[in-house]
C-alpha cells in the first residue's frame, strides 16, 4: 500500500511554528510512504499537485497534514475522487488548529506534527474504500394530526403536487383551533379563517384524510416509511352519508359534548361541530342504546335503532369493523398538538368541584355564538349572567410544584382576548386578571394588551391566586395578592376562568418511541437543533410542527408547518438519497446474539437475523444507522465494527505512538 503525505504550510500559519521540512523528512522515512509539502494545499495548484501525485506514484491513500478536517475534509475528498481514488481513502492530520496555533515551542510542535501525521498514516493503512448507499424516495407524506399545523403542512405539500395523507384521531379535522371563538390580536373569528383551510384540504385531490383514525405502527427509514393506520369503525358509511343530520336530530341519547368541553349536550350519534370535515357523524358505542343492549345481550336484535330507521341514505352500519390500512411514505410530519392542562391537581382552586370555576377552553365555548349558550356568558351552575369574572393566569404553567415548570406562551394573550370579549359581550361587566408577568412578545401583541387595559378597563393584578371557594350566597371568593401594592386581595366573583396551560398530548411518548423522536422532560418532542433545525428531528425524514414541539400560538404553528412542508418538499425533489457510509456492520460468524448492541442503539438500528444453523444474530439496518459506534463498544466479541473507524484502525493509531 502506497501512501502519500501532503504537508501544508498554510502560508505561515503552520510553517511559522512547525518545521514542515522535518515533518516531510520524518514521514518519508516510513516504509511505503511518499511525502511532500506545499504552501497552500487547498488551493487549486495544491489540489492538482495531489491529483498528479496520486496518478504518478499510484498512491492508494492520501494524508493531508493541514487545517482541521471540519474545514477541508470535503474539499480533499473531492480531490481524491478527481484523482481516481475512493474519497474515504483520505485522512487529515490537523496540524494547524490543534498544533501550530496552540503551541509556541518549535521543536515540540514539530514533534507533535510528526506524531499526528504518523497516526494518520497508521489509520490510512487500514482504510477501505467505502461507498455511499443509494435509496429511493417514496413521494408521499404522512401527516399525523389534523389541527391547523397538520392541515397547513398538508396543503403546502399537496399544492406542490405530492400525495399527502392526514391521520386524525377525532371524527373531524380542525383540532383545538375549531373550538376557539376569536383569535388574538386581530380578533378574527377562528372558524372563519380555519374552515376554508379545512375545506381546501378535503377537496384537494392530493390530500387523503383519515379521521377517527390512529397510526399504529411506523417502520422503515427516510424515503421509505411503512405505516399501519387503524381507521376506527364509525358505524356510518362515509360514501352513503349525505350529512343531512336527521340521525342526530332523532337520536334519543344525550351525553356531554367533548367539543363543548362538557358544557353542552351532544347525541350518541354526532358530528362534533357544525363545520366538521368530513360532515359524517360517528356513533359513540359507549353511550349508544343499541350497542349497550348488544353488550348486555349479544343474541338480541338490539334496542333503539332509531337512527337506522330514519336515515334516508341507509348509511347506518352497526356491524362496521375497524379497518387497517398499510401505506408507504417518504416522509412523516408529526403535528399532534397539545392537551389542555387538567386543573384537578389544584386543590386550592377547588380541583374541579366548583362548576363556576371554568377553564379557558370552556370560556372560549361560552363566548362562541355557536356554543352551548349561544354566546351568552352564563354561569354553568345556575345559568345566570356572570358580571364579575376573575381570570387567573399561569394555572398549569410556571408551576414546578404541579410538574409544569415552563411558560405556556399563549395564556397571557388569550386571557387578554377573553377579558376583552367579555367586555364586548357585557360592557359593564367587571374583569380582573391575576398575572405574574405579562408575556406579549409578538407582532401587535403588546399593543393589544394595552388596549385591553386602557380602553376596556380590565384590571390587572400582579399576583397568584391562593384559594378559590364558594361562599354561602353562591358567589366565588377569590383570595389573591397584588404584589405591586403589597396587599392581600379578595374578590367576590360570579365566575372564575383558569388560564390553563398547554401540556403535551398523552400519546406523545408512545408515538415518539415508535417513530424515534426524542422528547424532553415535559414530554414535548425535541427538535434536531433548537435554533438551526427547529422543524427537523433526530430521525431523518421525520419532521415536527405545531404545539407538539412546544406551546405555540396559531401564527407560529402555521409558520412551522410551512417549514416542515418545505423540508419534505426538499426531500421529495430528490430521486435518490445518498446515505453516509460510516455505518456499523456485524460479523455474523462470531456474533453471539447477546444483543447488547441493540440495548444501547439509540436508533433501533439493530435487528435480529436467523442464520441457517438457527442461531439468532444481530444485523444492522443500514438506513437507520447513524454511525455513532455505540454498539461497537457494547459488543464483547468485537463482532460489530464501524466502517471508517474500525477497532483495528484505532488500535493502529494508538500503537503508532510507541
Amino acid at each position: 500500500m502506497k501512501i502519500g503525505v501532503f504537508v501544508c504550510h498554510c502560508g505561515t500559519n503552520i510553517s511559522a511554528v512547525i518545521d514542515v521540512q522535518k515533518v516531510v523528512n520524518d514521514l518519508a522515512k516510513m516504509p511505503g510512504v511518499f511525502a511532500m509539502d506545499y504552501k497552500f494545499m487547498c488551493s487549486d495548484p495544491g489540489q492538482n499537485m495531489i491529483i498528479s501525485e496520486i496518478k504518478q506514484k499510484k498512491l492508494d491513500a492520501v494524508i493531508v497534514a493541514a487545517c482541521s478536517p471540519c474545514l477541508h475534509e470535503l474539499t480533499f475528498r473531492n480531490t481524491l475522487i478527481r484523482g481516481g481514488l475512493n474519497p474515504y481513502m483520505l485522512e487529515i492530520a490537523n496540524i494547524r488548529e490543534q498544533d501550530s496555533w496552540v503551541h509556541t515551542d518549535r521543536d515540540k510542535a514539530t514533534e507533535k506534527a510528526v506524531r499526528l501525521a504518523k497516526m494518520a498514516v497508521a489509520k490510512a493503512k487500514r482504510n477501505q474504500p467505502l461507498f455511499p448507499q443509494e435509496v429511493s424516495v417514496e413521494k408521499s407524506c404522512l401527516v399525523i394530526g389534523g389541527g391547523i399545523a397538520g392541515i397547513q403542512a398538508a396543503i403546502d405539500i399537496s399544492s406542490a403536487g405530492y400525495q399527502t395523507v392526514i391521520v386524525e384521531k377525532e371524527p373531524s379535522i380542525g383540532g383545538k383551533m375549531a373550538m376557539f371563538d376569536k383569535t388574538f390580536p386581530t380578533l378574527d373569528c377562528s372558524a372563519c379563517i380555519l374552515t376554508p383551510k379545512m375545506v381546501q384540504a378535503s377537496q384537494s385531490k392530493k390530500v387523503k384524510i383519515y379521521t377517527y383514525s390512529e397510526v399504529e405502527e411506523i417502520g422503515g427509514y427516510v424515503g421509505n416509511f411503512n405505516a399501519r393506520i387503524r381507521v376506527k369503525a364509525r358505524s356510518v358509511n362515509m360514501e352513503k352519508c349525505t350529512g343531512c343530520g336527521i340521525c342526530w336530530q332523532k337520536c334519543p341519547v344525550k351525553v356531554n359534548s367533548e367539543f363543548e368541553q362538557n358544557l353542552g349536550p351532544r347525541k350518541a350519534v354526532y358530528v362534533p361541530f357544525a363545520q366538521a370535515v368530513p360532515n359524517v357523524p360517528v356513533i359513540d358505542c359507549v353511550n349508544c342504546t343499541y350497542y349497550r343492549s348488544k353488550r348486555q345481550n349479544p343474541e338480541s336484535k338490539g334496542l333503539c335503532r332509531i337512527c337506522e330507521k330514519f336515515c334516508p341514505a341507509g348509511a347506518i352500519e352497526f356491524d362496521q369493523k375497524d379497518k387497517i390500512i398499510e401505506e408507504k411514505f417518504g416522509a412523516v410530519i408529526v403535528a399532534t398538538g397539545f392537551s389542555a392542562f387538567d386543573h384537578k391537581v389544584y386543590g386550592e382552586y377547588g380541583a374541579g368541584r366548583y362548576k363556576d370555576v371554568v377553564t379557558a377552553l370552556q370560556f372560549e365555548r361560552l363566548l362562541n355564538s355557536s356554543g352551548p349558550t349561544q354566546g351568552k356568558i352564563l354561569r354553568p351552575s345556575d345559568s345566570k349572567e356572570a358580571r364579575t369574572i376573575v381570570f387567573v393566569q399561569c394555572v398549569g404553567s410556571r408551576d414546578e410544584s404541579k410538574g409544569v415548570p415552563y411558560c405556556s406562551r399563549v395564556c397571557c394573550m388569550y386571557t387578554a382576548k377573553q377579558a376583552l370579549l367579555l367586555k364586548e359581550h357585557i360592557p359593564d361587566a367587571n374583569a380582573y386578571v391575576f398575572y405574574i408577568d405579562i408575556r406579549a412578545a409578538g407582532k401587535n401583541y403588546e399593543e393589544f394588551i394595552e388596549r385591553v387595559q386602557d380602553e376596556y378597563g380590565v384590571l390587572y393584578l400582579r399576583g397568584r391566586v391562593s384559594k378559590i371557594y364558594r361562599t354561602g350566597d353562591g358567589a366565588l371568593l377569590v383570595r389573591g395578592a397584588d404584589t405591586l401594592s403589597g396587599t392581600q386581595v379578595e374578590i367576590s366573583a360570579d365566575m372564575v376562568v383558569l388560564a390553563t396551560g398547554l401540556v403535551s398530548n398523552p400519546e406523545t411518548v408512545k408515538l415518539g418511541q415508535m417513530i424515534g423522536i426524542p422528547y424532553d422532560k415535559n414530554r414535548f418532542f425535541t427538535e434536531s437543533h433548537p435554533k438551526l433545525a427547529p422543524a427537523e428531528t433526530q430521525t431523518a425524514g421525520v419532521f415536527i410542527c405545531g404545539a407538539c414541539q412546544f406551546p405555540k400560538d396559531i401564527p407560529d404553528s402555521v409558520a412551522q408547518a410551512g417549514a416542515a412542508a418545505s423540508k419534505v418538499l426538499g426531500l421529495f425533489s430528490q430521486e435518490h438519497l445518498m446515505l453516509e457510509p460510516v455505518l456499523a456492520c456485524v460479523n455474523q460468524k462470531i456474533c453471539n446474539g447477546c444483543f447488547h448492541c441493540r440495548a444501547v442503539c439509540p436508533y433501533n438500528a439493530i435487528d435480529e437475523e436467523i442464520l441457517k444453523d438457527k442461531s439468532v444474530v444481530a444485523r444492522v439496518i443500514e438506513s437507520k444507522c447513524h454511525g455513532c459506534g455505540n454498539c461497537i463498544s457494547a459488543c464483547p466479541v468485537s463482532a460489530v465494527d464501524l466502517k471508517g473507524y474500525t477497532n483495528e484502525q484505532i488500535l493502529e493509531q494508538l500503537q503508532s505512538l510507541r
Binding site: 386543590g347 386550592e348 380541583a351 368541584r353 384559594k467 364558594r470 361562599t471 354561602g472
Partner: protein
C-alpha cells in the same frame, strides 16, 4: 390492636374531654392505648421557632419512651403534637446528619423504629371504616357536621402523608360512619391561629370568626375537630368572637371522638360533653341524641 398512646399536655388539662372520649371509644373498639411512660411535651411551636435541635429532641425522647410499651406505633390525638412527632421521625429517617444531632441531644440511639399515627388514621385505615360502622349502635341521622382539620394534620404532605392537603376527607369518612351528614365546606384547612391564642388574641378572633362563618354558611350545626388547639380556639373564644364582631354563633365544637362515642351509646358524661364552653347539651337534646 395495641398502640402506644401520646396524649400531650392539652389532653391532660384544657382538653380532658378529648382524652376521655378517645379512651372510651378505643376501649369500646378493642383498641388498646397504652400511655407512653413519662412522655414529655412535644415542644410545640415555641420550640421549633427557637431551637431546631430541641424541637426534634423532645418528640424523640417521647418516642424512645414509647418503645417500652412494646407497641411499634404511637397513637396521637393532638394534631400539633402529631405534627411535631411525625416531623421528628421524618428527619431521623431521612436525614442522617440531623439524626446524629438529635441522638446526641437526647443521649440515646433512636432510628425511627416507632411509627406515628393520628387516631383518625388508626380508625379509618387500621381498624377500617366498615368495621367502625358495625360498632355504631345509635344513628346520628340529621346531625350536620363541618369537619375541621386545621393546618397541622395535613401539611406539609411530603412529611405528613396523611390526606389531600387542600380537601382532606378522612375525618368526614370517619364521622359519616355514625350516620351524621358532613358538609362540603371550604374552611377545612384554614388556620385558626392556634399558637397565637394567648399572644395575639385579636388575630385568633378574626380567624375563628371566618371559620365559624364558613361553617354556618355551609349549613353545619356543629364542628368536628381532631385537635385540642383548634377546639379551644373555636370553643373558648366563641363568646369573644360574638362580642367583638357582633355575631350570634352558637356552634358547638366537638371532638370527633365525642361524636363517635355518642353513636356508640356511651354516656355523655363519660365523653366530657359537659366541659365545653359553648355547651352542646341543649343542642344534642334537641336532636334526641342524648336524653
Amino acid at each position: 390492636m395495641k398502640y402506644a398512646y401520646y396524649p400531650g399536655c392539652s389532653l391532660h388539662s384544657t382538653s380532658r374531654e378529648y382524652d376521655m372520649s378517645a379512651k372510651e371509644v378505643s376501649t369500646r373498639l378493642g383498641i388498646e392505648l397504652i400511655e407512653a411512660p413519662d412522655w414529655v411535651c412535644c415542644g410545640a411551636t415555641p420550640a421549633h421557632v427557637t431551637m431546631h435541635v430541641l424541637s426534634q429532641a423532645l418528640p424523640v425522647k417521647s418516642l424512645i419512651n414509647a418503645k417500652q410499651t412494646g407497641a411499634d406505633t404511637m397513637a396521637v390525638c393532638c394534631a400539633a403534637c402529631f405534627s411535631r412527632l411525625k416531623i421528628a421521625n421524618y428527619h431521623v429517617l431521612n436525614d442522617p446528619g440531623k439524626k446524629a444531632k438529635i441522638n446526641r441531644a437526647v443521649g440515646a440511639e433512636y432510628n425511627g423504629e416507632v411509627a406515628v399515627k393520628h387516631l383518625l388514621e388508626i380508625l379509618a385505615k387500621d381498624f377500617g371504616l366498615e368495621n367502625l360502622k358495625g360498632k355504631m349502635t345509635a344513628k346520628l341521622d340529621g346531625l350536620k357536621v363541618a369537619c375541621y382539620y386545621g393546618c397541622l394534620l395535613v401539611r406539609p404532605r411530603k412529611i405528613m402523608q396523611f390526606d389531600d392537603e387542600e380537601n382532606p376527607t378522612i375525618m368526614d369518612a370517619v364521622v359519616e360512619t355514625t350516620g351524621a351528614k358532613t358538609v362540603d365546606w371550604p374552611g377545612k384547612v384554614e388556620c385558626c391561629g392556634a399558637s397565637f391564642s394567648i399572644t395575639k388574641t385579636g388575630v385568633v378572633l378574626r380567624l375563628c370568626r371566618d371559620i365559624l362563618q364558613l361553617a354556618s354558611d355551609a349549613g353545619a350545626e356543629c364542628i368536628a375537630v381532631a385537635c385540642p388547639l383548634c377546639q379551644s380556639n373555636l370553643d373558648l373564644r366563641q363568646p369573644e368572637v360574638n362580642k367583638k364582631y357582633d355575631k350570634k354563633f352558637d356552634m358547638p365544637v366537638l371532638y370527633f371522638t365525642q361524636i363517635l362515642g355518642l353513636a356508640m351509646g356511651i354516656d355523655w358524661k363519660k365523653l366530657g360533653l359537659d366541659k365545653h364552653i359553648v355547651s352542646p347539651l341543649k343542642f344534642l337534646k334537641g336532636k334526641n341524641i342524648i336524653k
